[in-house]
């Protein structure tokens, strides 16, 4: 997708030169080359993240080239330097190449992170997704539904309402309906938390982890029946 927008922007630049706003064909090639360099330096990123990061870079480079006659590298530094700064400003971890991994000054935390990133990607490919993380994101709404429903069913069981349900069609339908409502509320909550601050997300993840208890309880009850 970003490749397409990139092409558009570069085409836009050459149109610009025709109408006299000052981007020559060699400048267009320079922009495309610089973009390619930045893209290559970000090759280890998840493609969706990388495309998002580079989405409006082509137009930005065209603006820079139009405002400043000096070569792009003179103003922006080498593409790899630009990519490293971009990565850091965007809050992404710096890349660790195999050569850098042998650097004795690296802390064990850095090594652990590099290992986890690599495992994340290689294990993820077995699922057909880019990384385990990406696969888990797809499963997230299912977890929300399960956690909400299980909380409701556990509460009903705790209040003595549920044990009767196998012999009472009305209660069974009622319980399942309430579980569904609970599940949907939980999905809404999950979505809301996603859009909130990092602190809220951490607290919510911890609370959410405790929901494993009702989920296991409810599943074990169902499997027994």
């Amino acid at each position: 997708m970003s490749t397409v927008s990139g092409t558009n922007a570069v085409t836009g630049a050459s149109t610009g030169s025709e109408t006299g706003t000052g981007t020559t064909a060699s400048r267009t090639a320079e922009i495309a080359g610089y973009l390619g360099g930045v893209r290559a330096a970000l090759a280890d990123l998840d493609p969706a993240v990388r495309d998002g990061l580079l989405e409006d870079l082509p137009e930005h480079l065209v603006e820079v080239a139009a405002a400043d006659a000096s070569p792009l590298q003179a103003r922006l530094g080498a593409p790899a330097t630009f990519a490293a700064e971009l990565r850091s400003a965007a809050g992404l971890a710096p890349t660790l190449s195999p050569a850098k991994l042998r650097d004795p000054s690296l802390s064990s935390a850095d090594l652990a992170r590099a290992f986890l990133q690599r495992a994340d990607r290689s294990l993820g490919r077995t699922t057909g997704y880019e990384s385990v993380r990406e696969f888990l994101v797809v499963l997230q709404p299912t977890w929300w539904l399960l956690r909400g429903g299980s909380l409701v069913l556990s509460f009903l069981a705790g209040s003595g309402y549920l044990p009767e349900w196998e012999h009472n069609g009305g209660r069974m339908i009622g319980s399942l309906f309430l579980a569904l409502v609970g599940g949907l509320v939980s999905v809404r909550l999950g979505r809301a938390v996603q859009a909130s601050t990092a602190g809220t997300r951490v607290v919510s993840t911890i609370i959410s982890a405790f929901c494993i208890i009702p989920v296991v309880y409810v599943l074990s009850q169902f499997l027994r029946v």
């Binding site: 836009g12 870079l57 137009e59 930005h60 603006e63 405002a67 850091s88 965007a90």
Partner: protein, 110 residues
């Protein structure tokens, strides 16, 4: 002291503040930050910060087509962004005045 190190911590606030008065595209935001006196701010830092604030849900975007060049993606603050700006500005002001008082009290000339 190296101003670029300080800038790293406050670039979010600076970018949000610049967008508070008027929506802007990447290059425009950079230009406004520089003309406000943040000469050291780098293209990639501003651009990366915009993308991060956008992913975090603090900014919205819209594209404005242009006849004489590439289309421009404008960034605008939404409610989350305005809240973040208000909170961060409060933190920054209190921090800056604490530092001011500290330096004055310790007899460091301005």
């Amino acid at each position: 002291m190296d101003a670029t190190q300080l800038l790293k911590g406050v670039l979010d606030v600076a970018v949000l503040a610049v967008l508070n008065t008027e929506d802007g595209y990447g290059y425009d935001v950079l230009r406004r930050l520089r003309s406000a006196g943040l000469d050291d701010v780098g293209d990639a830092s501003v651009y990366g910060t915009l993308r991060r604030l956008y992913s975090a849900g603090a900014l919205t975007t819209y594209v404005v087509p242009s006849d004489e060049g590439p289309h421009r993606k404008y960034y605008a603050l939404n409610n989350t962004g305005r809240d973040q700006l208000a909170r961060s500005a409060k933190v920054w002001r209190s921090f800056a005045s604490t530092m001011d008082v500290l330096l004055t009290e310790q007899g460091v000339p301005a």
